[in-house]
Symmetry: C2
Amino acid sequence: MASLESLQQDLQKQNDLYNELRQKPDTEPAALEEVKKTLVELKKAVGQAQKASGDAGKEGKKKERMLLKTAKGTRDYGPAEMFCREHIERIVKNCFTTYGGACLDTPVFERKDVLTDKYGEDAKLIFDLMDQGGEQLALRYDHTVPLARYLAMTGGNNTQSKIWQVGKVYRRDNPVMSKGRMREFSQADFDISGTWDPMIPDAEIISLVCTILSKLDVGEFTIKMNNRKILDGIFAVCGVPPEKIRTISSAVDKLDKSPWAEVKKEMTEEKGLDSASADKIGEYVKLKGGPELLETLLKDSTLTSNASAKEGLGEMELLFKFLGAYGVLDKVLFDMSLARGLDYYTGIIYEAVVQESAPPAFNANAEAPSSSAPAPKKKSKKADEEEDEIDESKVGVGSIAAGGRYDGLVGSLIAASSGDPKKAAKAAIPCVGVSIGLDRIFALVWPKWQKQGKRVNETMVYVMAAGDGLLEERMKLVKELRDAGVKCDFLAKKKPKLTAQFAAGERDEVPFAVILGESEIREGYVMVKEQKWEMVNGEKVKLKSEGDEKGTKVNRVELVNWLKATSTWKEWEAFSQV
Amino acid sequence: MASLESLQQDLQKQNDLYNELRQKPDTEPAALEEVKKTLVELKKAVGQAQKASGDAGKEGKKKERMLLKTAKGTRDYGPAEMFCREHIERIVKNCFTTYGGACLDTPVFERKDVLTDKYGEDAKLIFDLMDQGGEQLALRYDHTVPLARYLAMTGGNNTQSKIWQVGKVYRRDNPVMSKGRMREFSQADFDISGTWDPMIPDAEIISLVCTILSKLDVGEFTIKMNNRKILDGIFAVCGVPPEKIRTISSAVDKLDKSPWAEVKKEMTEEKGLDSASADKIGEYVKLKGGPELLETLLKDSTLTSNASAKEGLGEMELLFKFLGAYGVLDKVLFDMSLARGLDYYTGIIYEAVVQESAPPAFNANAEAPSSSAPAPKKKSKKADEEEDEIDESKVGVGSIAAGGRYDGLVGSLIAASSGDPKKAAKAAIPCVGVSIGLDRIFALVWPKWQKQGKRVNETMVYVMAAGDGLLEERMKLVKELRDAGVKCDFLAKKKPKLTAQFAAGERDEVPFAVILGESEIREGYVMVKEQKWEMVNGEKVKLKSEGDEKGTKVNRVELVNWLKATSTWKEWEAFSQV
């Protein structure tokens, strides 16, 4: 039998391997399954060996080795990944400012009572901080509630604002790392607060989402839209008792993951709705379309007899008109099955999906019998046992952006703090906003991005010297270039070989090599060699320099201008400024 | 007697006022003191009223109002502040990439054992997460240990790297909000890992700090430098027993806040060092200077007889030579009293300070008797009682950047995880790095920044229309401009008055007003009015447009190019791209 120590080493290795594979979007599910199986076996073997050696009795505390890993559901993003993520974030932020947004930053944790009663069933997913004497704190679950808290605190000064926030939020959910479903994940939010003329801010947000997703390499996308007022009207005219509206709404929300038969079962068997009502709802929620669907619904006198539905339909009419002016009608789909989980929405709701968002094995439109529906199992009780990870091959990336109108949230916070619901109603600030799921977008973009090259930094020039190393001379030139805004680097060795310097520059795909020599320094010039790469059979390959192997002789005082005038420089500038 | 309810309202208001004033750097300490006094009185009054009304018996749980505030030691940064902070961050990140850095992102929380035994006495300041079944987690305390954990995990692939991280870190310390001392605060780190030729990475880091601080509006700065190897040598030749070296070193570290007499007292009375040894140390640690100090020390045969000191002095010699090549010798000060608190430093250490960093009432060079030294009181036990806040008027901003060489940290993590110290020693990755304190820099920059204007966003164009509102026409033009990369906005009203539209644009200091009318749309042009502001007596004032009050007639298809050709556009571009 293997020694405990060697088993523990094997376990650590297997654990590392599993984590590595799990984070790669291109890992075959079957291969991952194999690795996991070995991992579980090793864990058992270590447990048995510990028992045998008597370690388990003392809980092995003294000899226990630290596990070198990140916390469950979190991960590091290394330089190559961050190079891609920074690019995504730059595009998103640039769109936010192009739409007139101003930035807000709130703390990563909030007083617990601010978060309480905002997330319905999902409140159990909130990460609490330990009570170390003082306030009860919890990590933020989204950016919406902290924004509402900020608006409630600053009150009058910010009643009309366009605010964006980019940052991490936290949910103790079952992670699916390869699809960007994490316990720590990044959201980019844009919200418009204040009383404006109807549907103008709502249209701005939808247009913003279209702009952002068009600029990101996520493929074809659709923005599914619906309106809580219409949904509530449908539930009313279909005979859902008022107290069951929210719970029936959550059942409808599952239609993107489960077939109608299963949802109906939940409505009738679990939630006690009569079958006839459920069937009527079924007729409505299967409708999808554009402005023509709206026209059909406006002719439905049963529906328009309901005040809420009528108001909602009027809002959609106005919205479609505005989306026409923004030129984004082809990107939206009026989808009456969209319900959204969160309680606080009061009007329009939306969700952006791409082809690749859907779980691979499941077509949401098929009315498959419930037994064959491979919806991801949620085992939140056992969320922390590695063995109960959900099957990643059956889960899609999900929606990559989502949001809606929430006119009551700020008011409810003011009410909870002032104890005066009337005052709160007056001070209420209507809001509409969207959250962009940066990790899910990264999961879509990264596989394509990797094929474009291996850059991890923005270095444009690698300064080199032959012969004696000329260390201080290299330092001086590097400083000169950096002071002029040229991103550059050199090899931190006293007398490196020229080949080693070229290799270091090439590793980072640095486009220009600037070479110093004794005579160059004396005579005031440098040699510049542009390095080019090309895609060959999907692999980036360095091209041999054409013409003079030694490169171009450039006057040192002209070097910065020479570099900035090259097409490579300009292309890079355009890329890095989005 | 006032009702409980009205008292609670007063308390909330006073609390809001206190928080508001506390976050403003220009609040008079005396005024803040007054507000705080009233706050404490109100708290007492509410407590008494609760007792009287019988609420206190039931702990008032049901009727207790939510406090609308951020957690202690944290704060929101609103749009005006974020506009400044984003600018600071852009400069810092731009310098990082100019020096060849690649980005890393690690989770906000780590497995607790990764953070254990890294921070000496300050370990009590770590924020723990609640154990909700699963791992023991804690919020990161700095970026250095997560980086070391990342390097230990990725091992061979990243032995030689330049890595930067920008993000929030957490310490349960006593906050001094107005000076940027927070429980949640932002640090920007840059680290060079791997075995390189001596002192080259160290010089890169010092040069980087000089570049960053020169580009930020922090005023004159000095980088104080020392070397742990020299300090250890000094302690050895002064007769400090090896086991007391670290504790005597922490005493020396207090010399920037306390006079020598007090530090000596700590060494002798608290830490049991003999008086003669302390006096010898005192002679060394009062020395400050440039390369000439180094020369003096190199002639000190007592010191150079110590191997560690000799090695350290050799390193400083090389460092000074390199800093000469980087042209930053005038920014550095060899300060032998600099010791730095953290245990993990093994070589060069440094700390950047500005004039304004020092506590206003205290001159670190004066050898004042201990009774008059107004060092800030630390009452960490009571850190959560509002009343025990430390006196903000007596505290300086402190160092705005600090760091050093830590050659053993990555190896120690590998050792803890592998259980094999020999393997760990081989796998050790030497590192040198710096942390920039973004909140402290913000505290220095913000008062000056506020005088420059009130912009909160980057909007360049405000699209307006007279008469009938032309809502959809405004939307179309806005979309057109945004698609062309022009950051623009409009008033989200159907038929707003022209004056209201101008007021909205002016509130955000938007430089261009583009005005649509029926005839303009028909004939394919727009009217453009450039809005200008000027500083008058320290206040930004809008100038009346010279010449044609109606503005300039611009062909609509030429509009984007026309805007981009203006000097205002180009100035803004230069500003926003740093």
